[in-house]
Symmetry: C2
Subunit: 306 residues, 2 copies
């Protein structure tokens, strides 16, 4: 089943202990689309500037991602510059130039309207809500957000949460959103705001799925580890790649059962683990489905008793 | 098979957001013994002062722990006072009075000499080594240490590591001991120092087992989650309780196979999760084997796909 994703397509300049890349293709919608494209059809809604050329377009096309919803505007694309020199778990932002993204008005192509799955990547919650309302027929809606919106745009964000099935955020964001330092109580608080499932991403420690209702014979929570990696080249996009693997796998299933959610958590971790092995989207661009399935088995080995 | 453990038996005054307890029974060897006693016979080597009375002795006796190696010395027992008011993951130490522990000379009772398993809880590595050398016939030796010994007593600690089969430490200690910020590379560095297995404890995120050699058809690493707990009353002793569950389970198995190590990781997490539910050793004192096995199944549910 097709996923429509709305979010940023950007250029990133990134410095890590492993080196530096200037103006590589990035943005939440880019990482998400590439990761999800290994599981299902993906359609992107974004805005780019005149610096987005054939080379960038080709990255999407190579993965058969529908780019009809990527609007070309006069000016430059969203640009982010950051480094992870002291701490691989937290980016230090040097530059954020919104450029054409500042006036982004998501437009949904007619051809996207039959999408059954919708992913609202991290953008202004006002826009997330607008896209959500413009696609009332979707079967499952997932979304992401960051500290900035939680702190300073709370009312708009709360409206978005009411329309979400699944929210994917990190530990700090969960605690901040619920105003509780205990993660389980914070998760419960977030679930009370609307989503029926919450995926809390723990960075190098994996992620936990919290359900708003206990499922028959199954625990309310499910923990997927992250892969212990010898080299993390560039953490940028790990969370968006997790979301792409998670939601892409779910969208490809005939039914979104509790068992499917569990496997989706593993596929999320798998895609996140690949993303960080190279700069930007380099690894996702070269990836094969065989490598994905092999790593899925490694995750099983890593966590299962027998 | 019997485990001999050498380490501290102490009194702790603890303050957490959930309240305060004064002079409750604590110490690494206490938590370890109580946790391990649910799986196998445990024998303690420690020193206490005149303040260690019948009530404290009874806590060990109730779990059939051999206390003949707990020496009574003139003076007061080791006393620690600390709080976790800002951060449940890190204790703030207010007082450390070594008291009788300052002159501790471990003496091994004759009756302990046939122990096949030895646990060197966190104490001066000079003493750890002495006990290790005094029990050359043991089958498996595990141990713990902390930042202080890694930083300021490295040569003595390195001697201990050469005689260890399994080292249990946390993320920070692993990175510090190996001098590497990447956890996988740090773990490999630690394994090169002697132990053939390393358990890295991640606090609320669980623990990872690293093996020095790949096992046929099995990954080198195994990750056990921690239980997502709604209330953490007192984190004191969580790591020692993990070690007790882990090593206690291993010692109870006819063979320490890779599969046994995996289950041991789960039992470690189970015991750690119980320890933090009440102040000090309160929860471990009241625990039953049925509760332990029920939680083991919860851990399986939390992590297994099917």
């Amino acid at each position: 089943m097709a996923i429509t994703v709305v979010g940023s397509v950007a250029f990133d300049s990134i410095e890590t202990p492993e080196g530096r890349r200037d103006r590589c293709l990035g943005g939440a919608a880019t990482y998400f689309s590439l990761a999800a494209s290994f599981f299902t059809d993906v359609r992107v809604i974004a805005v780019v500037g005149e610096d987005f050329g054939a080379a960038e377009e080709a990255v999407f096309k190579a993965r058969k991602i529908d780019t009809r919803g990527i609007e070309r505007a006069a000016g430059k694309s969203f640009f982010w510059e950051g480094s992870y020199l002291d701490n691989l778990n937290e980016a230090k932002t040097h530059t954020t130039d919104l450029n054409v993204f500042a006036a982004f008005e998501p437009k949904i192509p007619e051809a996207y309207r039959d999408s059954e799955f919708l992913f609202l990547a991290n953008i202004d919650p006002v826009l997330q809500r607008r896209v959500r309302e413009a696609m009332p027929g979707v079967k499952l809606v997932a979304g992401d957000t960051i500290n900035y919106w939680i702190k300073d745009h709370r009312p708009a964000l709360l409206e978005v949460l009411k329309g979400l099935d699944i929210l994917l955020i990190n530990d700090t964001e969960t605690r901040m959103l619920a105003g509780h330092s205990n993660l389980v109580q914070a998760a419960r608080g977030v679930l009370a705001l609307g989503p029926r499932a919450l995926v809390v991403k723990h960075g190098e420690y994996g992620a936990t799925l919290f359900h708003s209702t206990a499922q028959k014979g199954k625990s309310r929570e499910f923990r997927a580890p992250a892969m212990p990696l010898e080299v993390v080249v560039d953490p940028t996009g790990a969370g968006d790649s997790f979301a792409g693997g998670f939601f892409g796998y779910l969208a490809a299933q005939p039914e979104q059962t509790p068992a499917a959610f569990r496997r989706a958590m593993f596929y999320g971790s798998v895609m996140g683990s690949f993303a960080v092995e190279r700069f930007g989207t380099e690894r996702l661009q070269k990836l094969t489905r065989e490598e994905i399935d092999a790593r899925f088995l490694q995750f099983r080995e890593l966590t299962h008793l027998d």
